[in-house]
């Protein structure tokens, strides 16, 4: 879901020649992402979610107050915390949760996941086109 949304956003910013937005994707977050985010004012992490939400949700991310690092599991808040410790800088950060349903080995997205992806993409376009990301965009669920 994360890479799929990144692909959509990347095509959109290229097509509409939007400046000052950069995208990146990988199998998972890792320590070097602390280095990457130090250069940005605002960072939005994107990932699939199994939480009990409708469609998608945007929440604020703050530096972690506990450690949950392992090689295969690095959270956005850990990356923020590492960035703060090493580079003495914390960008504003948000997490886009996109509801997914089936995570077994198979190809492609389910129909409902695809719908959520499109909803999230449309929301992202509005969000990134606007002057700022404010609290009105947060924690609410959109479907």
């Amino acid at each position: 879901m994360g890479p799929a949304l990144i692909d959509l956003v990347e095509k959109w910013i290229i097509q509409d020649k939007i400046k000052n937005i950069h995208v990146d994707s990988n199998y998972q977050l890792n320590i070097e992402d602390a280095y990457t985010i130090r250069d940005y004012d605002i960072v939005i992490f994107l990932d699939a979610s199994v939480e009990d939400i409708d469609g998608f949700m945007l929440t604020r991310v703050l530096p972690a107050d506990k450690v949950n690092f392992s090689m295969h599991s690095v959270s956005p808040s850990f990356v923020l915390h590492l960035c703060k410790e090493i580079y003495d800088y914390t960008p504003e950060a948000f997490l886009m949760h996109i509801k997914g349903y089936s995570f077994d080995l198979e190809e492609g997205l389910s129909r409902k996941a695809s719908e959520n992806l499109n909803l999230a993409f449309n929301f992202m376009k509005d969000l990134l086109s606007g002057p700022e990301i404010s609290t009105k965009h947060l924690t609410g669920q959109f479907s």
Binding site: P3, D24, S25, N26, Y27, Q28, N30, I31, E32, A34, Y35, V50, K66, V67, N68, F69, S70, M71, H72, S73, F78, H81, L82, E85, I86, F103, D104, L105
Partner: protein, 494 residues
Amino acid sequence: MKRLNTINITTMGQKLTIEPVTRVEGHGKVTIHLDDENNVVQTRLHIVEFRGFERFIQGRPYWEAPVLVQRLCGICPVSHHLAAAKALDVIVGVGPDNISPTAEKMRRLMHYGQFFQSHSLHFFHLVSPDLLFGIDADPVKRNVLEVAKEFKDLAVQGIMMRKFGQEIIEATAGKKIHGTGAIPGGINKCLTIEEKMKFLIGKDPLNIDQMIEWAQSAVDLFKDYHKNNQDFIDNYATFPSNHLSLVRKDGALDIYHGVIRAVDPDGKKILHDVDYQDYLDYIAEEVKSWSYMKFPYLRSLGKKDGWYTVGPLARLNTCDFIPTPLAQKEFEIFKAYTNGKPNNMAMHMHWARLIETLYAAEMIKKLLNDPDLLEGELVRKGNKTIEGIGLLEAPRGTLFHHYRINKDDQIEMANLIVSTTNNNSSMNKAVELVAKANMNGRDKITEGMLNGVETAIRAYDPCLSCATHALGKMPLELTLFNSRNEVIDILRSE
């Protein structure tokens, strides 16, 4: 994540379960069985999750395998990518030894980049907290964020070394996710001159000379630590083992291609540089009812005695020399410590890992200066066969990929033996040793003791995700059993 800090053992015949194994990947648990006097009578490292990747790729066109198998692991996708491509080199009739020089060198560069990033990540961010703060230190202190706070330069080095390796992978595999660089019979791109120059003389610190310097300083850091903590480093979870790895045909350390060699704890060769296409003649896998992870063994020695260790320590125990100057110098110091005999000290796995990090950096520099990377034949073709085996050394150890296809070019059989599976018996043995040393006669488990068990497992750098061929989310759970084998508590973390 909630941790099991202390368990009071007041009844007879208790069974203690340590779950999850934190800072160890995937979903595993350790059970420790005590007798009436609270002495450890049995320990087991269980792998409790299984989703069969080998089944998933059945029916898929064979050429998809190098991309599909990367989903096995977010840390070593390149190992699976290349092992699959090597197996398919055989299937497309090019054979294991006949891809073009350009293709082999591009694949090697990708592989060394992966070794460099994975070993760096493992040492600086998983192991260094134990070494810098001590395995008994408060877990609030014993973590990478505290390393970042108190040893900022070290944490930055780890981050930049990992980033450099990742960028090598991106340049050679084509992209960060689901890279397509290696294809059956070769490779699909060369390195550009811009990419080459970026890695050779890139912006400080992201250039290869800085990486070599940092890799050397990491080896020195470990040696200094060893001097001051000799008893711990030499004796922790140490036991005699057979060792198995790929070596180059002339006996050099080689992580991409060669023959399989195994030595016993005294250095006697027990597998004599055999062709990995014949691995089934030499290696079998035992299934045990209590773990989804199989137990490989050498057929010639049988199930009881044929288990072996793979990974950095095994590679330095099986090879005769390292073909790069700085790493060779360190290899000689490493070998001299055991008078040329195999090194069976589990914590020396970290020493070996850092020597390999230096080796990978030197090999990257050597390849970056090789004109074959910039142009040359990318792909070769041959007469198709129905079966192929790819083998290489992943950061954690020897990795086998074996495929058979049908007349419609679909994969009909896949067998993957990953590094962690190869180390299954060794990790179980290490856990047993540590449990007996730390827990015999005790009626409490402290967090330090739990971390002691994990420290032993971490030396092997296990990836339980690869071992169970699973992917996606990994639920973490902590379960406590009483003497009647009843679950009395479960803690879960997300």
